[in-house]
C-alpha cells in the first residue's frame, strides 16, 4: 500500500511536470525571471562603477576662481582633477542637474585668509542626487586635505607642533574580510535566489491546486483510489523540481555574471567560485520544498488561478521580510538558532557563504532536515485540506 502510494505520487509528479513543461507561459516566466535578477544587478553595478569613476577623474566647476587663485591652483594639481569655469548661477545649475557640484569662492576669501580667519568657501551640491554623491565626497575630501595642510603649516609657523591639534589618533581596525563586507553589500543575492525558488514553483503550485479546482478536474482526480497524501505530495514534488531547476539557473546565471561586474572599480574585492555556488545551492535548495509546500497550501484555498496568484503575491512579500530586515538592520551578533529558521537562516547563512566564512557540514545537514520536515508537515496539512468538501466543491 505504501509503495503503491509512492508510485502514485510519482505518477502525479510526472504528469504535473509534463503539463508544466508544455506551458509556454510558465517556461518563459522562469527564463525571464531568472534573467531579470542578474540583469538588474549588472545594470546597477555598472552605473555605480561609472559614478565612482566619475569621482576619480573629476571636473570641478569653480565660481570666483580669481578670488583664490592659489587654492584653485592647488586643487587643479590633485590627481585627476580638472578645473572648469563655474556657471553663472551655481544653485540653479546644481538644482537643475546641469552640474553635479560647484565650488563657489566668495569675494572676501583672500581678505579673511590673509588674517587667518576661516575663509568661507561654498560647496554647492544636491545630496538627493545619487549620481553626484561620490563626486561630492571626493571634493569634500580634497577640501579637507587643503585645510589640514594649511593648518599644519600655520601651526608650525607659530612654533607649535601640528601634533597638538590631533588629541586622538583614531585607528580603525577592520576585522571582517573584504569578501564579507562585499557580501553584506550584496545581501540581496540571497533574496534573488530564494525568489527564484518561489517563481519557479509558482506555476505548478497554482495550476495543480486552484487551477484544477477552477477547471473542474479536481473531482475526477480525487475520485481515484489514490490517497490524498500521494496526490498532494506528487504535486509538491513536481513543484519542488521546477523550483530547484529555477534556482539552479538563477544561481548559475548570477555566478557567471559576477565575473563581469566591475566590483574592483568600487574598491571591492569579491570572489565567487564553485565553492560559493555549491554553498549557495546547499543553503537554498532545502528551502525550495518548503516554499513549494506553503505555496500549495495557500493556493489550495483559492477558488481560481487568479485568486491563488494574488494569495501567493502576499506570501512572496512575507518571505522577503526577513531579508529586508536584515538588509536594513544587519545584525552581526546572531543567535545560533537563527541559522535554522527558514528564510532568516538562509539569509544569514548565505551572507556567510558569500563572505567565505566557513560553515560546518552539520549546519547544512540540520538546515536540510529542518526545512524538509517542515515541508512534509505542510504537505500533510495540504493533503488534509483535500478531504474538505468546501475545498473540493466550494466555488
Amino acid at each position: 500500500m505504501r509503495a503503491g502510494s509512492l508510485t502514485q505520487s510519482l505518477v502525479v509528479m510526472r504528469k504535473e511536470i509534463k503539463d508544466w513543461s508544455r506551458d509556454r507561459r510558465s517556461i518563459i516566466t522562469v527564463l525571464v525571471s531568472s534573467l531579470l535578477a542578474p540583469g538588474l544587478i549588472f545594470i546597477m553595478f555598472n552605473s555605480m562603477a561609472t559614478r565612482q569613476r566619475s569621482a576619480e577623474d573629476v571636473t570641478i566647476p569653480v565660481v570666483g576662481a580669481s578670488h583664490a587663485p592659489a587654492f584653485v591652483e592647488w586643487l587643479g594639481q590633485q590627481a585627476g582633477v580638472t578645473i572648469a569655469d563655474g556657471p553663472d548661477n551655481a544653485e540653479d545649475a546644481v538644482r537643475n542637474r546641469r552640474e553635479d557640484v560647484v565650488i563657489v569662492i566668495p569675494e572676501n576669501f583672500a581678505k579673511n585668509f590673509r588674517v587667518s580667519r576661516p575663509a568661507q568657501i561654498r560647496l554647492v551640491a544636491d545630496s538627493s542626487s545619487q549620481n553626484s554623491r561620490p563626486k561630492v565626497q571626493r571634493i569634500r575630501t580634497l577640501l579637507q586635505r587643503y585645510n589640514s595642510e594649511i593648518s599644519s603649516l600655520r601651526l608650525i609657523a607659530r612654533g607649535v607642533s601640528p601634533a597638538v591639534a590631533t588629541p586622538m589618533q583614531i585607528e580603525e581596525v577592520e576585522v571582517s574580510s573584504s569578501q564579507q563586507r562585499a557580501a553584506t553589500i550584496l545581501g540581496f543575492i540571497p533574496l534573488f535566489v530564494m525568489l527564484a525558488a518561489f517563481t519557479g514553483a509558482m506555476a505548478i503550485a497554482t495550476d495543480s491546486t486552484a487551477g484544477e479546482r477552477e477547471r473542474g478536474s479536481f473531482e475526477a482526480l480525487l475520485a481515484n483510489p489514490a490517497p490524498r497524501l500521494a496526490i498532494a505530495s506528487g504535486k509538491w514534488l513536481a513543484g519542488t523540481v521546477t523550483a530547484v531547476v529555477t534556482v539552479l539557473i538563477t544561481a548559475a546565471l548570477l555566478f557567471s555574471m559576477f565575473r563581469y561586474l566591475p566590483l574592483q572599480d568600487l574598491g571591492m574585492r569579491f570572489r565567487l567560485g564553485t565553492p560559493e555556488l555549491i554553498g549557495t545551492l546547499a543553503v537554498v535548495v532545502p528551502l525550495a520544498p518548503l516554499i513549494v509546500a506553503l505555496q500549495m497550501y495557500v493556493a489550495t484555498f483559492a477558488k481560481s488561478f487568479k485568486e491563488a496568484q494574488s494569495y501567493l503575491t502576499f506570501l512572496m512579500m512575507a518571505q522577503m521580510i526577513p531579508g529586508m530586515m536584515q538588509t536594513m538592520n544587519p545584525t552581526t551578533a546572531r543567535a545560533w538558532w537563527m541559522h535554522y529558521v527558514p528564510w532568516i537562516g538562509q539569509q544569514s547563512l548565505l551572507t556567510d557563504v558569500l563572505g567565505n566564512k566557513p560553515i560546518g557540514p552539520e549546519v547544512y545537514a540540520i538546515v536540510g532536515v529542518v526545512n524538509l520536515t517542515l515541508a512534509v508537515l505542510v504537505v500533510r496539512a495540504t493533503a488534509g485540506l483535500l478531504h474538505r468538501e468546501k475545498i473540493i466543491f466550494g466555488r
Binding site: 508510485t7 502525479v12 508544455r22 473531482e219 475520485a223 481515484n224 483510489p225 490517497p227 468538501e389
Partner: protein
C-alpha cells in the same frame, strides 16, 4: 451492486439530501431522475466518497463507502458533474494518467487505453491535446479515463448534458455496452427521454428524497399516467404540493 439506504446530507439549513434509498443491481442501468436541485449530484458525490453523508449507508459491492472510502473508490468509475480536463495533455495521456493512478501499468495499460479509444471511436483524436476538443470529445475523454480500470460500478453524473445528438447517441451506446459487459451503471439525468431509453430501473428524486423507484412501467402504473413525463411531473409535483407553504 450499489445499495443506498436513508442517505442524508445538509449544507447549513439546506437539506440537500433528505432520505434517499435505492439499489442499483449488477448488470443493470439505474437512472437517478429528478429536476435540477433535487439532490442527484449530492447523492452521487456521497456515493463516490467525496462527500460524507450526515446519515445513511452506502454499500458498493458490499464495501461501506463511508468507512472505507478508498476501498469503495477502487470499485468505482466516476464521471463527475464537473469533469474538467487538462488542456495541455492529449486524450491518450488523460486515460493513461488515470490508469496509472489506478495501478495499471505497462502493456496492460496500453491495451486498455487502446481498447477504450476504439470503443469510444476516439483513435483519430487520441494524440491531440484536448484544448481544442468539442464538448462531445471532452465527454468521451472524461468517460474513458473514468473507466480505464474497468470498474465494476460506473457512476455518471448527467453524462449527456449539453451534448449534441450524435454525441448523446454515442454515450448511450457506451452505457449499453457497459451494461452488456455486466457493469453496474448508475447515472443521473433530468431528461426523461434519456432515462426511459436506457434504464432498467428509474429512481425519481425530488426535494432530496427518493420518491419512487422501479421500471418505467412500474412508474407509469404507480402514477396512473401513461406518459412517463406526466408520471415524473406527478411524482415530483405531488411532493411540491405536500409541502406546507
Amino acid at each position: 451492486m450499489i445499495r443506498v439506504t436513508s442517505l442524508r446530507k445538509h449544507f447549513g439549513d439546506v437539506r440537500a439530501v433528505d432520505g434517499v434509498t435505492f439499489a442499483a443491481p449488477d448488470g443493470q442501468v439505474t437512472g437517478l431522475l429528478g429536476p435540477n436541485g433535487a439532490g442527484k449530484t449530492t447523492t452521487l458525490r456521497m456515493l463516490y466518497t467525496l462527500m460524507r453523508p450526515d446519515a445513511g449507508q452506502i454499500l458498493v459491492d458490499g464495501i461501506d463507502a463511508v468507512d472505507d472510502p478508498q476501498g469503495a473508490r477502487f470499485a468505482l468509475g466516476v464521471l463527475p458533474d464537473q469533469s474538467g480536463l487538462y488542456p495541455r495533455l492529449t486524450a491518450r495521456e488523460h486515460i493513461e494518467y488515470f490508469g496509472e493512478l489506478q495501478g495499471i501499468t505497462g502493456s496492460e495499460l496500453r491495451q486498455r487505453t487502446e481498447h477504450l479509444l476504439q470503443m469510444l471511436d476516439m483513435t483519430a483524436i487520441a494524440d491531440r491535446r484536448v484544448a481544442g476538443f468539442s464538448h462531445g470529445e471532452r465527454t468521451k475523454t472524461a468517460l474513458a479515463r473514468a473507466i480505464v480500470h474497468n470498474p465494476k460500478n460506473v457512476l455518471l453524473d448527467e453524462p449527456t448534458n449539453g451534448l449534441d445528438v450524435m454525441s448523446t447517441r454515442a454515450v448511450r451506446e457506451i452505457i449499453r455496452r457497459l451494461k452488456g459487459e455486466g457493469h453496474t451503471v448508475l447515472f443521473s439525468s433530468h431528461v426523461m427521454q434519456e432515462v426511459s431509453a436506457l434504464c432498467d430501473t428509474i429512481v425519481v428524486i425530488a426535494r432530496g428524497r427518493s420518491v419512487a423507484a422501479g421500471t418505467p412501467d412500474d412508474l407509469r402504473t404507480q402514477t396512473g399516467h401513461q406518459n412517463l413525463e406526466d408520471a415524473f411531473v406527478a411524482l415530483s409535483g405531488l411532493e411540491a404540493e405536500g409541502q406546507p407553504s
